[in-house]
Amino acid sequence: MKNKRDLILSAILLIVLFCVSWFVNGELDSYIRRIVNLCLIYAIIGLSMNVTNGFTGQFSLGQAGFMAIGAYTVGIFTVPVELRANVFYAVPMNPLIAGIQMPVWLALIVGGLLAALVAFLIGTPVLRLRGDYLAIATLGFSEIIRICITNASSFTNGALGIKDIPPLNDVRYIFVVTAITFAFIAALINSSYGRAFKAIREDEIAAEAMGINLYKHKCLAFMISAFFAGIGGGLYGALLGTVDPKNFLFTLTYNFLLIIVLGGMGSITGSMLGAVIVTAGLEYLRIFDEPLEIFGTMIPLFRPGLRMVMFSALLMACVLFWRHGIMGTREITWSKLIAFCKNPLGFFKRKGASQ
């Protein structure tokens, strides 16, 4: 009964949010639209990263590479055939793929599947490692993917990048993809496979003694993560309208690491919160980049770059005082929301006492 109530409430929330996205898409200016789109895409990728790092406890830093695969798939296959000669002016496009054009949704799925395939191939050697070693190995592979893309000129146009991708900045479209991602991963985490992932995070040896095949489950988590990172990357490429190998430097991964550390490693709702805070926060802190004048005197520190200083300071404070991020491994659930609405003050007191 409780499950049914939660399902209905979630469905209502989704419909309401969809209407909001409709409104944002139609009524608000392109700046706001852009921020909302970025929040949604970052949430997809943050959540995908949370599947390996947060839920399965495998510290992987390969997200930028998987994003690049998704973005390039969308880039290569959605540029209209007649514009391709113009895009691939240095090295002509490989005849194998020159004639193939796909709609965006298909290119997204193909990109996701390709990323998952690459994750499977990488996972075989890499997932035998643990902790820091795994992080370094995945980081390395992410760079290898980028270098491969840079050098496969006839497919990817090399360092010149691909332009003229039909832009996708319809908030509704991106919202629907985000909603599907969140619903799928929430369902996955609540299934017996999701529980097996958490068991691996908590104690690998005990998980194995419970009959959980470590390698198989880690690989699954890694592939799911790569699949959605690919989709997110594809959306990212389509949103920018151009892809370039320099977009997918390993530093990009740290944005998502930041999102999940801030939101909470192992929390679905935390990933969403983290994505919104990081993306919107970075935008709205731009006031610090503008010169500021109070009572006729210029405040000296306000100049371009201060925004990043402020952001770093906020992050440091967050990590110092909230070791587990905003949500930790907890979730915002309907029962908690209802309890909170009934008794806003008592809600936090009770939680404080039980910790």
């Binding site: 017996s192 104690d203 419970m210």
Partner: protein, 262 residues
């Protein structure tokens, strides 16, 4: 009574150290067998060889499955061993600390939920049927062992004795035929030990188990074991029923030392 687990001269060497030498165990169905010995005798190593954590340097481990078929399980993976019906607990409790009691136990049902990944992730009807079957079984199990009221608590917040009990329950949830307990009474006070003694007997009869355990607590061992093996420096120095072991000169020497003046 037929044998459920047999080891044929298993030996484990770490570099030049022989941790266990030519161990010959035979455990029969429905028995409670204890493995004792002073610290460093190789008891946990023996456990680890049976459950696939280590691959023995020499020798074989043979398990008789529920159809009466003998299979060689030497060097099989820990997760495969759990699937054929051998469950174990650990010397230093290895619960999933940040998860609730309920989650700890239902995770162990994963190997019995027959569902591929996609149908589980999409919660398709046949997965849901398996899932609710598992939920019913877990509820019955938790009620049986008096942990149902604590199902929402974090495993790490339970008192020590309950944590030990939960670890055994979690192993039970994999529906084993052979349960290996590594020092189940370690660190328990006398009352908790007494409870544990009756608990072990109870689950043996209730779930028709064979129990093989390592234990230092002699009161517990002598009370519930049908047979005892004694290890010292990797060698089997004695085996037999409790009263024989109590009076065995070599065992007494291993525990108390040899009287040099005599």
């Amino acid at each position: 009574m037929s044998s459920i687990l047999k080891t044929n001269a298993v030996t484990m060497q770490f570099g030049g150290v022989t941790a266990v030498n030519n161990l010959e165990l035979e455990i029969n169905e429905h028995e409670i067998v204890a493995l004792i010995g002073p610290n460093g005798a190789g008891k946990t190593t023996a456990f680890n060889m049976i459950t696939g954590v280590y691959t023995p340097t020499k020798g074989t481990v043979v398990y008789t499955d529920k159809n009466g078929k003998e299979c060689d399980i030497t060097g099989m993976k820990l997760s495969e061993i759990a699937k054929i019906g051998i469950a174990r607990t650990f010397q230093n409790i290895r619960l999933f600390k940040d998860l609730t009691v309920y989650e700890n136990v239902i995770i162990a049902k994963h190997l019995h939920i027959k569902s591929d990944f996609m149908s589980a992730a999409l919660h398709l009807p046949w997965y849901n049927a398996e899932q609710s079957k598992a939920e019913i079984e877990v509820e019955a199990l938790l009620r049986k062992v008096d942990l149902w009221d604590m199902r929402e608590e974090k495993a790490s917040s339970l008192p020590y004795g309950k944590q030990r009990r939960l670890e055994i329950v979690r192993a039970l949830a994999t529906e084993p035929r052979l349960l290996l307990l590594d020092e189940p009474a370690a660190g328990m006070n006398p009352k908790e030990t007494e409870e544990l003694t009756s608990f072990i007997k109870e689950i043996r009869d209730e779930y028709n188990l064979t129990i093989f355990m390592i234990e230092h607590h002699m009161g517990l061992v002598m009370e519930i074991s049908d047979r005892i093996y004694v290890l010292d420096f990797g060698e089997t120095i004695a085996k037999g029923i409790p009263s024989e072991i109590q009076n065995n000169q070599r065992v007494i020497e291993a525990y108390l030392g040899v009287d040099e003046d005599a």
